[in-house]
Structures are given as structure tokens and as C-alpha cells.
Amino acid sequence: MKKILNSPDSYVDEMLDGLCAAHPEFYAQPEPRVIVRAGGKTPGKVGIVTGGGSGHLPVFTGYVGKGLLDGCAIGNVFASPSAEQMAATMRHADAGAGVLRLYGNYGGDVMNFDMAGEMVEMEDDIASTTVLLADDVASAGPEEAAKRRGVAGMVYAFKIAGAKAEHMASLDEVTAVAQKAADACRSIGMALSPCTVPQAGKPTFEIGETEMEMGMGIHGEPGIWRDELKPADEIVDEMMERLLADMPLGQGDRCSILVNSLGATPPEELYIIYRHAKAVLDGKGVEIVMPLVGRYATSMEMAGATITLCKLDDELEALLKAPCDCAFWRV
């Protein structure tokens, strides 16, 4: 296993220690596997919490910060945190105005977060709502869109809901705009090489020396097809085609686009991808607003990339452009 670590069992806890030690101005860990904003809470502000497996930095933990999230429950690499940890996160994030649970649509996470919601409602009288990200168009057809996995689109939902909450909107309002952002996102990924989950010690999948998989998930979930690696522009054409088939955009539409590395793929190659993705959108007369290119939602050292489109209206655009601040993203 080619990873820099001390022991698979301490990977996540040492990572969180290091994160808080490096950025004490952003992150605090009031109890194990729970990260909240270092500055404490703003009374009356809706709390936004997320949670999920480790191994996706900056997702999920990294996006705790001003104009973004209030708390995050952290599981082992690619594994759900427990309902108890999620409940604890919600208790820390609640500032009297209720809590939005905003996270990716994965079976284990959903069951645990639902259970956590019931726990804090019963025991702590905390009102809470759920918005699930289900943006990966490769993971289910449009007729089963609710079964889709949540991937990089959650970055937009964090940003937009976070900005709304910062404006002291109510839980219903924050929930509504988070849902609107989630509904406006479509993502698709492609992978070139796997990553290694420390506790498993071996690669998440196997793939030939010159193969790529289109539509693969961020934990190595199977995609749509596997074939010889194609030229960048052809890959982008297919990705954009599948995104736009699911959410048509044309003259007069506005969107943001996130070209995201799964980890190993360098920014050089993301810019090659962006160059052509922009050409595709330009060709359709779609206006690009605040494009994002970088490592926003990763799978440790996996090679590959995802493209997310987030269709914007005036409200979403204003919230996307509102200030935010964490160790990984500042607007």
C-alpha cells in the first residue's frame, strides 16, 4: 500500500488532528470525529451539517467554515459515520434555529442520518430537515433520479445553502434553496486508476494500463462503460453530452461548471478539460458563471475527473458568489 500513514486504524483521527492543528482558525474538534467551526456558533443561525466517509478532502470536513457548513460527522475512509456521531454534530451545530442535514445519497449515510435526526428530535427537541445530493447522472436513469449517488455537486449545495444560512434565513428557506441547488446540479465522472482504502490495504478496483471507465463513482462504483483511454476532447464531449441530455441548457441559460480532479489528475489536465468543456457550452450559447477548476471532491489518490454543471438563476448565482471562507475555498 503506497500511502503515507502510521497505521490504517489511526489514519482518520491523525488526519483530523493535523487538520485542526494546521488551521485552528477554521476547525475545531469538540469530540472525536466531529468537526465544527472554530469560531463557535451564531445564535439564531440555521445550522448546516454534513457527514460521510473520509478520503474525499476537501469534501466533507474541509467545507466547514463561514458561508459554508457548521459541522461535519466523519466516518472511516469511505464508510458512514455512526448515527451517534451525526447526532452529536447536529447538537453542536444547532444554534436555536434548527439544522439542515445536507449530504450525499448513500444508503448507509441516509439510514444513519435519519436515525440521528430522530434521536436529536426526541432527546434534544432540535428541528431538522434533510436535503440529499443525487447529482451523478451515471448512477441511475432520469426515471430513477432519486436513487442517484451524490458526488461533486454537493460543493455547490454547501456553498449556496451556506450563504443563505449566513443571511439568517429560516430553516425552511435554507432547506428550500439547498434543494433548489441540489436539483440544479448534474455530475459525471471518469476514472483512470483506483485508490487504496487504508483499512483494506488494496486498490478499490482494477483497471488496465491504458483503460478508462466512464461514469465511475467516487468509491470505484461501476460506471457506464470501460474502454481504451480516449483523447481529452472526446472524453469531454461524451461527458457533456450525458450531462446536457439530463439537463438541457441553451441560449440564455447560465451555469457554473466544476471541473474536479479525483486526486491524482493534475490541474494541468483539468485545464485541458475545461478548455473543451467551455467550448461546448460556448457553442450552445450558455453563459458560464464562476467556473471552478481544481480538487473539490476527491477519492484520495484516484486518477480521473468529474464535471458538474450547476444551472443558475439570479438567487442561486448571488448565493454562489457570496463570501465564504475555509481552508480549501475562499470566495
Partner: protein
């Protein structure tokens, strides 16, 4: 009329925990074929946590089941762990305040757990998952009130479920992503259910 108590629960937990450790590798492998390969760890860790805390289980069966739920969930938060914990919670509600429960209620407890697990995981019968095992066991044990007969009926039903669903496609959880490839592969959660009742033979 035979009844079960917290003592029965303690004995069962010890037997399942031991058996689960023996079949953990096999369950991991089964889960690896349709998922992330952690099911053996989930089941063995969950039951070990209950067995390790068995001495302290209260006599109130409601509280004892609730404690089991917490143990299982604490030990593993993968889907199966949360579902098992959910089943325990449903039993906790049904047995609240009682120190002995007639074995004739087991069928109803299984059906109640199955329902709670459906609500928790948003799954349906026929999706090829542990719910189908729970439902089959609940139906097979209806009207029985003797431990050995209950176990035999439940095990037979769990075994039939694995075989009956094997040719079908998984419609739930990680395995759903495998689509057609999942046909012909036994559902790991159903195998785990079978192993758990088998441990009580």
C-alpha cells in the same frame, strides 16, 4: 408456554458472536462481490460488542434490546449494522417493560423489525436484500411457540430466501449498481441473516 428473557438474549448473543467470527471472511467475500466487502466485519464486530456487554444487559427486555441496538450501531455504521440496530429498536418498543416474552411473539417481533427496517432503509420486499429474509422468517415462524421449532423454521426460510433470490437482480444498496451482473450472485445480507439463525441451531 415457553418464554424468553434477557438470559436467553445473552446466550444467543454469545453463540452468534462466536459463529459470526468464523464466517466473517466468507461474508466479507460475499459482500466484496456486490459491494465493499465489509459485511463480515460489520456482523462479527456488532455481535461481539453485544456479547461483550451481555452481562450488563438489564432484565427489562425493552431496555435490553435497546442496549443491543446501541452496541450494534456503535460497532459498525455500515448499512447492515444500522438495519440490525433498527430491528433491535423495534423489538425494544414491542417488549418495553417486560422481563419475559412468550416465544409465540417471535414471529411478530420479526415482522415488526422487518417493517421498521423497511422504513429506515426505504427498501421493499422483493428488492433482494435482508428484508426478504426477515419477511420469510416472520411468515415461517407464525404460530410457533417452541424455540427449536422456531429456529428450524426460520433457518429453512432464510436458506430458501437466499436460493430463491440468487438469480434475481439486486434493487437496493451498493449491489443495485451492479445491475444485471448481480443476477446469479447471492445477496450478502441474506447470507448473513441465514448465518445468524444457523448459529442458534
Amino acid at each position: 408456554m415457553a418464554e424468553f428473557t434477557t438470559a436467553s438474549l445473552r446466550a444467543a448473543a454469545a453463540r452468534i458472536a462466536d459463529h459470526a467470527e468464523g464466517v466473517a471472511a466468507k461474508l466479507n467475500e460475499a459482500d466484496g462481490r456486490l459491494g465493499d466487502g465489509d459485511l463480515g466485519i460489520t456482523v462479527s464486530k456488532g455481535w461481539r460488542e453485544i456479547a461483550d456487554n451481555a452481562e450488563g444487559l438489564p432484565d427489562d427486555l425493552g431496555k435490553a434490546f435497546m442496549e443491543c441496538a446501541k452496541c450494534f450501531q456503535r460497532a459498525s455504521s455500515s448499512s447492515y449494522g444500522t438495519l440490525v440496530a433498527t430491528g433491535f429498536m423495534s423489538a425494544a418498543k414491542a417488549c418495553k417493560g417486560r422481563e419475559a416474552v412468550p416465544f409465540s411473539e417471535v414471529s411478530g417481533l420479526l415482522a415488526g423489525a422487518c417493517e421498521a427496517m423497511m422504513a429506515r432503509g426505504k427498501g421493499n420486499l422483493g428488492d433482494k436484500c435482508v428484508l426478504d429474509s426477515m419477511d420469510a422468517m416472520a411468515r415461517a415462524t407464525a404460530g410457533l411457540d417452541e424455540p427449536a421449532a422456531l429456529q428450524a423454521a426460520a433457518e429453512a426460510a432464510a436458506a430458501e430466501t437466499v436460493e430463491a433470490f440468487k438469480p434475481q437482480q439486486n434493487k437496493l444498496g451498493r449491489a443495485r449498481m451492479f445491475g444485471e451482473k448481480s443476477a446469479g450472485i447471492a445477496d450478502p445480507g441474506q447470507i448473513a441473516a441465514l448465518e445468524m439463525v444457523h448459529a442458534l441451531a
